[in-house]
Protein backbone atom coordinates (compact mmCIF):
# COMPACT_ATOMS: atom_id res chain seq x y z
CA UNK A 1 0.00 0.00 0.00
CA UNK A 2 0.95 3.60 -0.23
CA UNK A 3 -0.31 6.48 1.85
CA UNK A 4 0.54 10.14 1.54
CA UNK A 5 -0.42 12.60 4.24
CA UNK A 6 0.40 16.14 5.20
CA UNK A 7 2.84 16.54 8.05
CA UNK A 8 2.42 20.31 8.16
CA UNK A 9 -1.09 21.72 8.01
CA UNK A 10 -2.26 22.61 4.54
CA UNK A 11 -5.76 23.91 4.84
CA UNK A 12 -5.67 26.38 1.98
CA UNK A 13 -9.18 27.72 1.51
CA UNK A 14 -10.91 26.45 -1.66
CA UNK A 15 -8.28 23.73 -2.21
CA UNK A 16 -8.29 21.45 0.84
CA UNK A 17 -9.48 18.82 1.42
CA UNK A 18 -10.44 18.88 -2.26
CA UNK A 19 -10.71 21.62 -4.84
CA UNK A 20 -13.96 23.58 -4.56
CA UNK A 21 -13.25 26.90 -6.24
CA UNK A 22 -16.35 27.06 -8.45
CA UNK A 23 -19.94 26.60 -7.26
CA UNK A 24 -23.38 27.48 -8.66
CA UNK A 25 -22.26 30.80 -10.12
CA UNK A 26 -20.07 29.19 -12.76
CA UNK A 27 -22.55 26.37 -13.46
CA UNK A 28 -25.30 28.97 -13.93
CA UNK A 29 -23.08 31.03 -16.22
CA UNK A 30 -22.28 28.00 -18.39
CA UNK A 31 -25.99 27.14 -18.51
CA UNK A 32 -27.11 30.67 -19.42
CA UNK A 33 -24.25 31.00 -21.93
CA UNK A 34 -25.37 27.80 -23.67
CA UNK A 35 -28.97 29.00 -23.58
CA UNK A 36 -27.94 32.30 -25.19
CA UNK A 37 -26.10 30.39 -27.91
CA UNK A 38 -29.22 28.35 -28.61
CA UNK A 39 -31.44 31.46 -28.65
CA UNK A 40 -29.24 33.16 -31.24
CA UNK A 41 -28.93 30.05 -33.40
CA UNK A 42 -32.68 29.36 -33.41
CA UNK A 43 -33.72 32.98 -34.03
CA UNK A 44 -31.31 32.95 -36.97
CA UNK A 45 -32.37 29.52 -38.23
CA UNK A 46 -36.04 30.50 -38.34
CA UNK A 47 -35.09 33.65 -40.27
CA UNK A 48 -33.04 31.65 -42.77
CA UNK A 49 -35.72 28.97 -43.16
CA UNK A 50 -38.35 31.72 -43.62
CA UNK A 51 -40.65 30.07 -41.08
CA UNK A 52 -42.01 33.35 -39.67
CA UNK A 53 -45.59 32.18 -40.13
CA UNK A 54 -45.07 28.82 -38.46
CA UNK A 55 -42.93 30.12 -35.61
CA UNK A 56 -43.72 33.80 -34.98
CA UNK A 57 -42.23 33.93 -31.48
CA UNK A 58 -38.84 32.52 -32.51
CA UNK A 59 -38.86 34.60 -35.68
CA UNK A 60 -39.51 37.99 -34.14
CA UNK A 61 -39.35 37.99 -30.35
CA UNK A 62 -36.83 35.34 -29.30
CA UNK A 63 -33.69 37.30 -30.17
CA UNK A 64 -34.42 39.86 -27.46
CA UNK A 65 -33.80 37.21 -24.82
CA UNK A 66 -30.17 36.64 -25.90
CA UNK A 67 -28.57 39.75 -24.37
CA UNK A 68 -30.88 39.51 -21.34
CA UNK A 69 -29.98 35.89 -20.59
CA UNK A 70 -26.31 36.47 -21.36
CA UNK A 71 -26.20 39.49 -19.04
CA UNK A 72 -27.68 37.39 -16.26
CA UNK A 73 -24.99 34.78 -16.91
CA UNK A 74 -22.22 37.35 -16.91
CA UNK A 75 -23.58 38.66 -13.61
CA UNK A 76 -23.32 35.26 -11.96
CA UNK A 77 -19.84 34.89 -13.45
CA UNK A 78 -18.91 38.26 -11.98
CA UNK A 79 -20.19 37.10 -8.59
CA UNK A 80 -17.68 34.24 -8.76
CA UNK A 81 -14.64 36.48 -9.26
CA UNK A 82 -12.49 36.89 -6.14
CA UNK A 83 -10.77 40.07 -7.33
CA UNK A 84 -13.82 41.85 -8.70
CA UNK A 85 -12.42 45.34 -9.21
CA UNK A 86 -9.98 43.91 -11.72
CA UNK A 87 -12.62 42.38 -13.99
CA UNK A 88 -11.61 44.83 -16.75
CA UNK A 89 -8.34 42.90 -17.03
CA UNK A 90 -10.14 40.36 -19.23
CA UNK A 91 -10.12 43.08 -21.85
CA UNK A 92 -6.61 44.44 -21.58
CA UNK A 93 -5.06 41.41 -23.26
CA UNK A 94 -5.86 38.48 -25.48
CA UNK A 95 -4.33 35.14 -24.49
CA UNK A 96 -4.46 32.97 -27.56
CA UNK A 97 -4.04 29.66 -25.67
CA UNK A 98 -6.63 30.40 -22.98
CA UNK A 99 -10.23 29.40 -23.81
CA UNK A 100 -11.40 31.80 -21.08
CA UNK A 101 -9.76 34.69 -22.88
CA UNK A 102 -11.42 33.61 -26.13
CA UNK A 103 -14.72 33.41 -24.24
CA UNK A 104 -14.34 36.89 -22.77
CA UNK A 105 -13.88 38.33 -26.26
CA UNK A 106 -16.61 36.16 -27.82
CA UNK A 107 -19.03 37.57 -25.21
CA UNK A 108 -18.13 41.09 -26.30
CA UNK A 109 -18.84 40.26 -29.98
CA UNK A 110 -22.10 38.48 -29.10
CA UNK A 111 -23.75 41.69 -27.85
CA UNK A 112 -23.62 43.74 -31.10
CA UNK A 113 -24.53 40.67 -33.19
CA UNK A 114 -27.56 39.86 -31.05
CA UNK A 115 -28.63 43.53 -30.98
CA UNK A 116 -28.58 43.55 -34.80
CA UNK A 117 -30.70 40.38 -34.65
CA UNK A 118 -33.21 42.12 -32.37
CA UNK A 119 -33.34 45.23 -34.57
CA UNK A 120 -33.94 43.16 -37.70
CA UNK A 121 -37.35 42.10 -36.33
CA UNK A 122 -38.06 44.87 -33.82
CA UNK A 123 -40.99 46.37 -35.76
CA UNK A 124 -42.80 43.07 -36.16
CA UNK A 125 -41.79 41.53 -32.82
CA UNK A 126 -42.11 44.48 -30.49
CA UNK A 127 -44.44 47.03 -32.12
CA UNK A 128 -44.77 48.81 -28.76
CA UNK A 129 -41.03 49.48 -28.62
CA UNK A 130 -40.18 50.19 -32.26
CA UNK A 131 -41.79 53.69 -32.39
CA UNK A 132 -39.20 54.85 -29.86
CA UNK A 133 -36.47 53.93 -32.34
CA UNK A 134 -38.41 55.02 -35.42
CA UNK A 135 -38.85 58.49 -33.92
CA UNK A 136 -35.27 59.34 -34.86
CA UNK A 137 -34.07 59.47 -38.47
CA UNK A 138 -30.96 57.46 -37.65
CA UNK A 139 -33.06 54.91 -35.74
CA UNK A 140 -35.32 54.49 -38.77
CA UNK A 141 -32.33 54.03 -41.05
CA UNK A 142 -30.77 51.45 -38.75
CA UNK A 143 -34.03 49.47 -38.50
CA UNK A 144 -34.48 49.64 -42.29
CA UNK A 145 -30.93 48.45 -42.82
CA UNK A 146 -31.28 45.59 -40.31
CA UNK A 147 -34.57 44.45 -41.83
CA UNK A 148 -33.08 44.53 -45.32
CA UNK A 149 -30.06 42.54 -44.13
CA UNK A 150 -31.90 40.13 -41.83
CA UNK A 151 -30.54 37.14 -43.72
CA UNK A 152 -26.93 38.29 -43.53
CA UNK A 153 -27.31 39.11 -39.84
CA UNK A 154 -28.73 35.62 -39.23
CA UNK A 155 -25.84 34.05 -41.11
CA UNK A 156 -23.43 35.98 -38.85
CA UNK A 157 -25.32 35.08 -35.67
CA UNK A 158 -25.13 31.33 -36.27
CA UNK A 159 -21.32 30.93 -36.19
CA UNK A 160 -21.02 33.29 -33.22
CA UNK A 161 -23.79 31.45 -31.39
CA UNK A 162 -22.07 28.13 -32.07
CA UNK A 163 -18.73 29.58 -30.94
CA UNK A 164 -20.32 30.70 -27.67
CA UNK A 165 -22.00 27.33 -27.07
CA UNK A 166 -18.94 25.27 -27.84
CA UNK A 167 -16.57 27.50 -25.88
CA UNK A 168 -18.49 26.88 -22.65
CA UNK A 169 -17.50 23.21 -22.98
CA UNK A 170 -13.94 23.80 -24.17
CA UNK A 171 -13.47 26.11 -21.20
CA UNK A 172 -13.68 23.01 -18.97
CA UNK A 173 -12.10 20.43 -21.29
CA UNK A 174 -8.91 22.50 -21.60
CA UNK A 175 -8.05 21.77 -17.96
CA UNK A 176 -5.69 18.83 -18.34
CA UNK A 177 -5.20 18.96 -14.57
CA UNK A 178 -8.87 17.93 -14.03
CA UNK A 179 -9.21 14.44 -15.50
CA UNK A 180 -13.02 14.42 -15.52
CA UNK A 181 -13.16 17.51 -17.75
CA UNK A 182 -10.31 16.48 -19.99
CA UNK A 183 -12.43 15.20 -22.90
CA UNK A 184 -12.90 16.83 -26.29
CA UNK A 185 -16.55 15.69 -26.26
CA UNK A 186 -17.45 18.41 -23.74
CA UNK A 187 -17.45 21.17 -26.40
CA UNK A 188 -20.09 19.53 -28.65
CA UNK A 189 -21.97 18.20 -25.60
CA UNK A 190 -22.38 21.68 -24.11
CA UNK A 191 -23.30 23.12 -27.51
CA UNK A 192 -26.02 20.53 -28.14
CA UNK A 193 -27.28 20.87 -24.58
CA UNK A 194 -27.42 24.67 -25.02
CA UNK A 195 -29.38 24.33 -28.27
CA UNK A 196 -31.70 21.83 -26.59
CA UNK A 197 -32.44 24.17 -23.66
CA UNK A 198 -33.19 27.03 -26.09
CA UNK A 199 -35.56 24.81 -28.11
CA UNK A 200 -37.26 23.83 -24.86
CA UNK A 201 -37.57 27.47 -23.87
CA UNK A 202 -39.36 28.28 -27.14
CA UNK A 203 -41.61 25.22 -26.81
CA UNK A 204 -42.45 26.45 -23.30
CA UNK A 205 -43.27 30.10 -23.98
CA UNK A 206 -44.47 30.13 -27.63
CA UNK A 207 -48.25 30.43 -27.96
CA UNK A 208 -48.84 29.14 -31.47
CA UNK A 209 -49.37 25.39 -31.65
CA UNK A 210 -47.39 24.96 -34.88
CA UNK A 211 -44.41 26.65 -33.19
CA UNK A 212 -44.60 24.43 -30.11
CA UNK A 213 -44.66 21.36 -32.35
CA UNK A 214 -41.77 22.58 -34.50
CA UNK A 215 -39.57 23.28 -31.50
CA UNK A 216 -40.57 20.06 -29.77
CA UNK A 217 -39.33 18.30 -32.90
CA UNK A 218 -36.08 20.28 -32.83
CA UNK A 219 -35.67 19.43 -29.16
CA UNK A 220 -36.28 15.73 -29.74
CA UNK A 221 -33.44 15.54 -32.24
CA UNK A 222 -31.17 17.52 -29.93
CA UNK A 223 -31.95 15.38 -26.87
CA UNK A 224 -31.20 12.26 -28.91
CA UNK A 225 -27.89 13.80 -30.00
CA UNK A 226 -27.14 14.75 -26.39
CA UNK A 227 -27.75 11.19 -25.18
CA UNK A 228 -25.27 9.99 -27.83
CA UNK A 229 -22.71 12.60 -26.77
CA UNK A 230 -23.07 11.68 -23.08
CA UNK A 231 -22.39 8.06 -24.08
CA UNK A 232 -19.33 9.13 -26.09
CA UNK A 233 -18.12 11.23 -23.14
CA UNK A 234 -18.32 8.22 -20.82
CA UNK A 235 -16.65 5.94 -23.38
CA UNK A 236 -13.93 8.54 -23.76
CA UNK A 237 -13.22 8.66 -20.02
CA UNK A 238 -13.61 4.90 -19.61
CA UNK A 239 -10.83 4.35 -22.15
CA UNK A 240 -8.66 7.05 -20.63
CA UNK A 241 -5.88 7.35 -18.07
CA UNK A 242 -5.90 6.05 -14.51
CA UNK A 243 -6.90 9.52 -13.30
CA UNK A 244 -9.86 9.56 -15.69
CA UNK A 245 -10.95 6.08 -14.62
CA UNK A 246 -10.85 7.17 -10.99
CA UNK A 247 -12.83 10.30 -11.85
CA UNK A 248 -15.39 8.23 -13.74
CA UNK A 249 -15.95 6.10 -10.62
CA UNK A 250 -17.75 9.04 -9.03
CA UNK A 251 -20.66 8.58 -11.44
CA UNK A 252 -20.30 4.81 -11.76
CA UNK A 253 -21.60 3.94 -8.32
CA UNK A 254 -19.75 6.74 -6.57
CA UNK A 255 -21.15 9.76 -4.73
CA UNK A 256 -22.44 11.48 -7.88
CA UNK A 257 -24.05 8.41 -9.47
CA UNK A 258 -27.54 9.26 -8.27
CA UNK A 259 -27.57 12.90 -9.35
CA UNK A 260 -25.91 12.10 -12.69
CA UNK A 261 -28.01 9.13 -13.75
CA UNK A 262 -31.33 9.91 -12.08
CA UNK A 263 -31.48 13.70 -12.13
CA UNK A 264 -29.53 14.46 -15.31
CA UNK A 265 -29.90 11.41 -17.57
CA UNK A 266 -33.30 10.26 -16.29
CA UNK A 267 -35.20 13.42 -15.37
CA UNK A 268 -33.28 15.80 -17.63
CA UNK A 269 -32.96 13.70 -20.80
CA UNK A 270 -34.92 10.43 -20.99
CA UNK A 271 -38.25 11.52 -19.42
CA UNK A 272 -38.51 14.64 -21.64
CA UNK A 273 -37.46 12.50 -24.61
CA UNK A 274 -40.41 10.16 -24.01
CA UNK A 275 -42.83 13.01 -23.22
CA UNK A 276 -41.87 14.88 -26.37
CA UNK A 277 -42.23 11.73 -28.47
CA UNK A 278 -45.77 11.41 -27.09
CA UNK A 279 -46.48 15.08 -27.72
CA UNK A 280 -45.63 15.08 -31.41
CA UNK A 281 -47.96 12.12 -31.73
CA UNK A 282 -50.68 14.27 -30.21
CA UNK A 283 -50.60 12.54 -26.82
CA UNK A 284 -49.84 13.89 -23.38
CA UNK A 285 -50.77 17.43 -24.41
CA UNK A 286 -51.92 18.32 -20.92
CA UNK A 287 -48.44 17.85 -19.54
CA UNK A 288 -46.73 19.63 -22.47
CA UNK A 289 -45.25 22.09 -19.99
CA UNK A 290 -43.34 19.35 -18.16
CA UNK A 291 -40.87 18.26 -20.85
CA UNK A 292 -39.34 21.70 -21.58
CA UNK A 293 -39.09 22.49 -17.86
CA UNK A 294 -37.25 19.21 -17.31
CA UNK A 295 -34.94 19.91 -20.26
CA UNK A 296 -34.03 23.29 -18.79
CA UNK A 297 -33.48 21.70 -15.38
CA UNK A 298 -31.35 18.96 -16.97
CA UNK A 299 -29.26 21.56 -18.77
CA UNK A 300 -28.41 23.20 -15.46
CA UNK A 301 -27.83 19.90 -13.65
CA UNK A 302 -25.38 18.78 -16.37
CA UNK A 303 -23.20 21.84 -15.79
CA UNK A 304 -23.46 21.69 -12.00
CA UNK A 305 -22.52 18.00 -11.89
CA UNK A 306 -19.65 18.52 -14.32
CA UNK A 307 -18.36 21.47 -12.26
CA UNK A 308 -18.58 19.49 -9.00
CA UNK A 309 -17.02 16.23 -10.19
CA UNK A 310 -14.36 17.90 -12.30
CA UNK A 311 -13.00 19.82 -9.35
CA UNK A 312 -12.81 16.75 -7.19
CA UNK A 313 -10.92 14.82 -9.87
CA UNK A 314 -7.21 15.43 -9.67
CA UNK A 315 -3.66 14.12 -9.96
CA UNK A 316 -2.65 14.42 -6.33
CA UNK A 317 -4.40 12.61 -3.55
CA UNK A 318 -3.34 13.40 -0.03
CA UNK A 319 -4.85 12.58 3.29
CA UNK A 320 -5.20 15.99 4.81
CA UNK A 321 -5.29 14.94 8.42
CA UNK A 322 -4.18 12.09 10.63
CA UNK A 323 -6.49 9.15 10.30
CA UNK A 324 -6.20 6.21 12.66
CA UNK A 325 -7.45 3.83 9.98
CA UNK A 326 -4.29 4.43 8.01
CA UNK A 327 -2.37 2.35 10.55
CA UNK A 328 -4.67 -0.57 9.87
CA UNK A 329 -4.13 -0.21 6.15
CA UNK A 330 -0.39 -0.64 6.68
CA UNK A 331 -1.06 -4.03 8.32
CA UNK A 332 -3.37 -5.27 5.55
Amino acid sequence: MKEELFVTARSNALIDPSLHIWTWEVAMYLFLGGLTAGIMVFAATIALLKKDEEAPFAATKLALLAPVVLSLGMTTLFLDLEHKLYVFRFYTSFQVLSPMSWGAWILIVIYPVSILQILSTLRSGYPQASPYVDRFAIGRQVLDWCEANRRQIAMTAIPFGIALGIYTGILLSAFSARPFWNSGVLGPLFLVSGLSTAAALVALVARKHSEKVLFTRFDLGLIAAEVALVALFIINLASGTEQQLTALDSIMGGPYALVFWVLFVGVGLLIPLVLELLEIRGLARRVAIVAPVLVLLGGYVLRQVLIDIGQESNWTKYDTQYNAELLQRLRD
Partner: protein
Protein backbone atom coordinates in the same frame (compact mmCIF):
# COMPACT_ATOMS: atom_id res chain seq x y z
CA UNK B 1 14.41 30.12 -20.80
CA UNK B 2 16.71 30.10 -17.74
CA UNK B 3 15.70 27.06 -15.73
CA UNK B 4 15.83 27.42 -11.98
CA UNK B 5 15.37 24.19 -10.08
CA UNK B 6 14.97 23.08 -6.52
CA UNK B 7 16.56 19.77 -5.61
CA UNK B 8 15.41 18.21 -2.34
CA UNK B 9 17.12 15.20 -0.81
CA UNK B 10 14.43 12.93 0.62
CA UNK B 11 17.17 10.85 2.28
CA UNK B 12 18.11 13.70 4.60
CA UNK B 13 14.78 15.53 4.95
CA UNK B 14 13.27 14.85 8.37
CA UNK B 15 9.99 16.68 7.78
CA UNK B 16 10.65 19.27 10.50
CA UNK B 17 8.61 21.97 8.73
CA UNK B 18 11.21 24.74 9.02
CA UNK B 19 10.84 25.46 5.29
CA UNK B 20 7.12 26.05 5.82
CA UNK B 21 7.73 28.46 8.69
CA UNK B 22 10.54 30.24 6.82
CA UNK B 23 8.23 30.78 3.84
CA UNK B 24 5.39 32.12 5.94
CA UNK B 25 7.76 34.51 7.70
CA UNK B 26 9.66 35.69 4.62
CA UNK B 27 6.57 36.17 2.47
CA UNK B 28 4.12 37.22 5.20
CA UNK B 29 1.68 34.48 4.15
CA UNK B 30 -1.64 35.11 5.97
CA UNK B 31 -2.92 32.89 8.77
CA UNK B 32 -4.27 29.55 7.66
CA UNK B 33 -2.64 29.63 4.22
CA UNK B 34 0.55 27.97 3.04
CA UNK B 35 2.69 28.21 -0.05
CA UNK B 36 4.63 25.07 0.82
CA UNK B 37 3.93 21.99 2.85
CA UNK B 38 5.41 18.65 3.87
CA UNK B 39 4.11 15.30 2.77
CA UNK B 40 4.94 12.06 4.52
CA UNK B 41 4.64 9.13 2.12
CA UNK B 42 4.71 5.64 3.59
CA UNK B 43 4.95 2.55 1.42
CA UNK B 44 5.06 -1.18 1.97
CA UNK B 45 3.50 -3.56 4.45
CA UNK B 46 4.17 -3.61 8.15
CA UNK B 47 6.89 -4.21 9.32
CA UNK B 48 8.62 -3.62 5.95
CA UNK B 49 7.75 0.05 5.64
CA UNK B 50 9.62 2.91 4.05
CA UNK B 51 8.90 6.56 4.72
CA UNK B 52 9.75 9.50 2.55
CA UNK B 53 9.42 13.15 3.51
CA UNK B 54 8.83 15.62 0.73
CA UNK B 55 8.80 19.40 1.05
CA UNK B 56 6.35 20.40 -1.68
CA UNK B 57 5.42 23.67 -3.38
CA UNK B 58 4.73 25.08 -6.83
CA UNK B 59 6.88 23.14 -9.30
CA UNK B 60 7.56 26.23 -11.45
CA UNK B 61 6.85 24.13 -14.51
CA UNK B 62 8.56 24.93 -17.79
CA UNK B 63 5.28 24.07 -19.54
CA UNK B 64 2.96 25.57 -16.93
CA UNK B 65 -0.74 24.97 -17.60
CA UNK B 66 -1.60 27.74 -15.10
CA UNK B 67 0.21 30.23 -17.34
CA UNK B 68 -1.35 28.83 -20.52
CA UNK B 69 -4.92 28.95 -19.23
CA UNK B 70 -4.78 32.33 -17.46
CA UNK B 71 -7.18 34.56 -19.41
CA UNK B 72 -5.49 37.86 -18.59
CA UNK B 73 -1.77 37.12 -18.60
CA UNK B 74 -1.60 37.65 -14.81
CA UNK B 75 0.09 34.24 -14.47
CA UNK B 76 3.41 34.56 -16.20
CA UNK B 77 6.97 33.30 -16.34
CA UNK B 78 9.26 35.80 -14.62
CA UNK B 79 11.92 37.55 -16.68
CA UNK B 80 12.71 34.77 -19.15
CA UNK B 81 12.92 32.11 -16.45
CA UNK B 82 10.67 29.21 -15.48
CA UNK B 83 9.66 30.98 -12.25
CA UNK B 84 5.87 31.32 -12.33
CA UNK B 85 4.47 34.49 -10.77
CA UNK B 86 1.05 36.13 -10.50
CA UNK B 87 0.66 39.87 -11.07
CA UNK B 88 -2.09 40.95 -8.60
CA UNK B 89 -2.88 44.00 -10.74
CA UNK B 90 -3.73 41.73 -13.68
CA UNK B 91 -5.56 39.00 -11.73
CA UNK B 92 -9.37 38.90 -11.77
CA UNK B 93 -9.54 36.06 -9.22
CA UNK B 94 -11.29 33.81 -11.74
CA UNK B 95 -9.42 30.83 -10.24
CA UNK B 96 -8.78 29.16 -13.61
CA UNK B 97 -5.11 28.72 -12.67
CA UNK B 98 -6.06 26.91 -9.45
CA UNK B 99 -8.04 24.40 -11.51
CA UNK B 100 -5.24 24.27 -14.10
CA UNK B 101 -2.55 23.20 -11.61
CA UNK B 102 -2.21 19.41 -11.37
CA UNK B 103 -0.28 19.87 -8.11
CA UNK B 104 -2.97 22.00 -6.38
CA UNK B 105 -0.22 24.44 -5.50
CA UNK B 106 -2.12 27.70 -5.92
CA UNK B 107 -4.38 29.49 -3.49
CA UNK B 108 -6.61 32.53 -3.18
CA UNK B 109 -4.86 35.21 -1.17
CA UNK B 110 -7.50 36.26 1.33
CA UNK B 111 -8.86 38.82 1.94
CA UNK B 112 -7.53 40.60 -1.14
CA UNK B 113 -8.84 38.02 -3.59
CA UNK B 114 -5.98 37.66 -6.02
CA UNK B 115 -4.21 34.36 -6.59
CA UNK B 116 -1.08 33.63 -4.62
CA UNK B 117 1.60 30.97 -4.76
CA UNK B 118 5.25 30.14 -4.16
CA UNK B 119 7.50 32.58 -6.02
CA UNK B 120 10.75 30.62 -5.52
CA UNK B 121 11.46 33.83 -3.52
CA UNK B 122 12.35 35.58 -6.78
CA UNK B 123 13.03 38.77 -4.80
CA UNK B 124 15.90 36.89 -3.13
CA UNK B 125 16.93 35.02 -6.29
CA UNK B 126 17.29 38.38 -8.05
CA UNK B 127 19.90 39.32 -5.42
CA UNK B 128 21.75 36.03 -5.81
CA UNK B 129 20.30 34.52 -2.62
CA UNK B 130 18.57 31.16 -2.14
CA UNK B 131 14.81 31.02 -1.47
CA UNK B 132 13.93 31.37 2.23
CA UNK B 133 12.97 27.70 2.58
CA UNK B 134 16.27 26.51 1.15
CA UNK B 135 18.41 28.82 3.25
CA UNK B 136 16.62 27.90 6.48
CA UNK B 137 16.74 24.10 6.10
CA UNK B 138 18.54 22.71 9.18
CA UNK B 139 19.55 19.43 7.49
CA UNK B 140 20.61 21.20 4.28
CA UNK B 141 18.57 18.78 2.24
CA UNK B 142 17.32 21.57 -0.05
CA UNK B 143 19.32 23.00 -2.92
CA UNK B 144 18.54 25.73 -5.41
CA UNK B 145 20.21 26.93 -8.60
CA UNK B 146 20.25 27.07 -12.36
CA UNK B 147 20.07 23.90 -14.42
CA UNK B 148 21.65 25.79 -17.33
CA UNK B 149 24.98 25.90 -15.51
CA UNK B 150 26.55 22.44 -15.62
CA UNK B 151 28.71 23.26 -12.59
CA UNK B 152 25.84 24.36 -10.34
CA UNK B 153 25.06 22.30 -7.26
CA UNK B 154 21.63 21.32 -8.60
CA UNK B 155 23.07 20.19 -11.97
CA UNK B 156 25.77 18.19 -10.20
CA UNK B 157 23.27 16.49 -7.87
CA UNK B 158 20.99 15.51 -10.73
CA UNK B 159 23.99 14.08 -12.61
CA UNK B 160 25.15 11.94 -9.72
CA UNK B 161 22.01 10.99 -7.82
CA UNK B 162 18.82 9.13 -8.59
CA UNK B 163 15.88 11.50 -8.67
CA UNK B 164 12.20 11.90 -9.49
CA UNK B 165 9.70 14.68 -10.12
CA UNK B 166 6.02 14.59 -9.16
CA UNK B 167 3.59 13.33 -11.82
CA UNK B 168 5.84 13.92 -14.86
CA UNK B 169 3.04 12.41 -16.98
CA UNK B 170 1.13 15.69 -16.68
CA UNK B 171 3.52 17.03 -19.32
CA UNK B 172 4.02 20.21 -17.29
CA UNK B 173 7.81 19.68 -16.97
CA UNK B 174 8.06 20.41 -13.23
CA UNK B 175 11.31 21.83 -11.84
CA UNK B 176 11.27 20.63 -8.24
CA UNK B 177 13.35 17.46 -8.09
CA UNK B 178 13.43 14.88 -5.32
CA UNK B 179 16.58 12.83 -4.73
CA UNK B 180 15.61 9.26 -3.85
Amino acid sequence: MTRFAMVIDTKTCIGCGDCVVACKTENRVPDGLNRDWIVEATQGKYPQLTTEFRSERCNHCSNATCVTLCPTGASHHWAGTNIVLVDPDMCTGCKACIAACPYDARLVMHPDGYIDKCTFCHHRVGEGLDPACVSSCPTRCMHFGSLDEPSSEVSRLLKTREYKVLSPETGNEPNVYYLI
